[in-house]
């Protein structure tokens, strides 16, 4: 297995005239949790979205530099395959307005699966992975929008797992959740890192400290510092990092 699941080299990104990412050299270790922290507008979500080309959906975005997924250059990859490999969980839980089951088989059907029994097995396995199987196995045909916010977010993670990604991008996945739900999702992340590479963007520094193995700190489009989470939070090398984690600004 590669040491790095994701890697950028001299990555620059512009929204029109706005220089949103500046010469970013960033690594995401395989089978570990890497967190990106920094104040609002620092470019952490933008960086995250480069890895599954979600920025393409916006107009007027220009990207320079290289991104690698394992050894493959992202720009050469087929976008469908890329998004299969690199999945994403969003800030707001966003199940489709269908039933739980239809949400779960959406990705499978998109990839051409039709065998009901196989689909059912995958649905059960993925719901089990996120700890929802017990609660939902009799409610597969209820509308997903009737679930609690936490369950919705778990469902979104489970829905992602059905397409068997290798890398999971989480964009502030707990910001719409209460503290107990947040704690449970964090426990889930730690379980999932056994099998998946996880990159999480969070504005919650404590969360980064609790769950991640590596942390990157960003400010105004620059990756200021990157290292072991314990090192970043106990002995940051850059005074801007120190200023942020001690709460002097942000």
């Amino acid at each position: 297995m590669d040491r790095f699941a994701l890697r950028t080299e001299k990555l620059n990104l512009y929204y029109g005239n706005l220089h949103a990412l500046k010469d970013v050299d960033f690594h995401v270790y395989s089978r570990a949790i890497t967190a990106l922290i920094g104040p609002s507008g620092c470019g952490k979500s933008t960086l995250l979205r480069c890895f599954n080309r979600m920025n393409d959906l916006q107009e007027d975005v220009r990207i320079e530099g290289d991104i690698y997924v394992h050894h493959e250059r992202l720009q050469n990859m087929d976008i469908i395959n890329l998004r299969k490999k690199v999945g994403m969980v969003f800030q707001r839980p966003n199940p489709f307005p269908f039933t739980v089951y239809e949400n779960m088989v959406y990705g499978l059907k998109v990839h051409g699966m039709a065998n009901r029994r196989t689909m059912r097995e995958i649905v059960d396995r993925c719901l089990h992975s996120v700890g929802l199987l017990e609660e939902l196995k009799d409610k597969l045909h209820t509308p997903a929008l009737e679930l609690s916010e936490e369950m919705k977010q778990r469902l979104c993670i489970a829905r992602l797992l059905t397409v068997e990604p290798e890398i999971i991008l989480l964009d502030e996945p707990c910001s719409a959740l209460d503290p107990i739900a947040t704690m449970r999702i964090e426990e889930l992340m730690i379980e999932l890192k056994e099998r998946y590479t996880i990159l999480i963007v969070t504005h919650n520094m404590q969360q980064a400290a609790r769950v991640s193995d590596y942390t990157g700190f960003m400010l105004l489009g620059v990756l200021v510092e990157f290292g072991d989470t314990s090192q970043i939070f106990t002995s940051p090398r850059d005074e801007r990092t120190e200023g942020y984690i001690t709460g002097r600004y942000g």
């Binding site: 979600m54 299969k84 966003n94 959406y106 998109v110």
Partner: protein, 278 residues
């Protein structure tokens, strides 16, 4: 002079109540008169037998069949065209002079009086394309006429589907077409159905455009090239030419009931769709 706001309030309130009652009264009066005059005419034979002596006697079976044929066929033609246009406008184009032009065209088409559609259908389909007065000419004319409604309602419904849902679908590595097919269209379905129902209402109630294109034959149209008449046309001719006011009101009752029936079914389907997708 300043009026006490409490009095103004009360006056406004009573004014609004009166207006609401006025509207309802008019509606009740219309339906009441139609039913009062027409209901005694309606029975099994009236619905299932052929008219005799220009409609003075007998039933309205061919007109019922003609109405169903015309409405169904034009909806079947107009829905794919209209929904397709709506998807093209919302998903595949950026706002430009071109899309504005299309939209302006659609709005203008929606505002044209139906008699002009009838005239166009007569000149183009009936005469120029030599279709004669036929079901086909009627269907094509009506299709053009209801297209703007379907495009507009579908476009609004498609536009109202949250962008986030599309983004999630892409993130699950769905392509654009899969996203439209499996997320956008199902989520927009209640709105699209509303447009279709409005169009059915229009198709069933239309006379001017139909007389010019489908003609007014009293026979049962058995092919696309045969003429026929709808209930609305039948009603118009019976009343206009003084053939039989009783039969005219009887026809009107069946017409009103069938529109009611379509609407009830529509609400049922729509509620199911809404329950499923929102």
């Amino acid at each position: 002079m300043r009026i006490n706001p409490r009095i103004t309030n009360r006056l406004v309130r009573w004014g609004l109540v009166a207006q609401a009652y006025c509207t309802v009264t008019v509606l009740v009066l219309i339906i009441g008169i139609i039913f009062f005059k027409g209901f005694p005419q309606v029975n099994f034979a009236f619905i299932f037998s052929f008219p005799q002596d220009m409609g003075r006697h007998g039933g309205i079976f061919p007109a019922i069949v003609g109405t169903i044929q015309l409405a169904l066929l034009s909806i079947l033609l107009a829905t794919p065209l209209g929904v397709g246009t709506a998807i093209f406008l919302t998903e595949y184009t950026r706002e430009s002079t071109f899309t504005k032009l299309i939209r302006f065209g659609v709005e203008s088409l929606a505002g044209i009086p139906s008699i002009l559609y009838g005239l166009f259908g007569f000149i183009f389909f009936v005469i120029k394309l030599k279709m004669g007065w036929s079901l086909l000419a009627g269907v094509l004319t009506l299709t053009i006429m209801i297209l703007p409604t379907i495009i507009r309602t579908s476009e609004e419904a498609v536009r109202a589907v949250p962008r986030q849902l599309r983004i999630v679908s892409y993130s699950l590595s769905a392509s654009k077409w899969e996203t439209i097919k499996k997320v956008v269209l199902p989520a927009a379905m209640p709105g699209i159905l509303t447009g279709i129902m409005l169009s059915i209402g229009r198709a069933v109630g239309e006379t001017a455009a139909i007389i010019f294109t489908m003609g007014s034959s009293l026979r049962l149209p058995l092919s696309l090239m045969e003429s026929g008449r709808t209930m609305a046309v039948h009603f118009y001719i019976l009343a206009r030419e003084g053939i039989s006011m009783e039969k005219a009101y009887g026809t009107a009752v069946v017409l009103v009931l069938s529109i009611l029936f379509v609407n009830i079914i529509a609400y049922y389907i729509m509620n199911k769709a809404i329950a499923r997708y929102s």
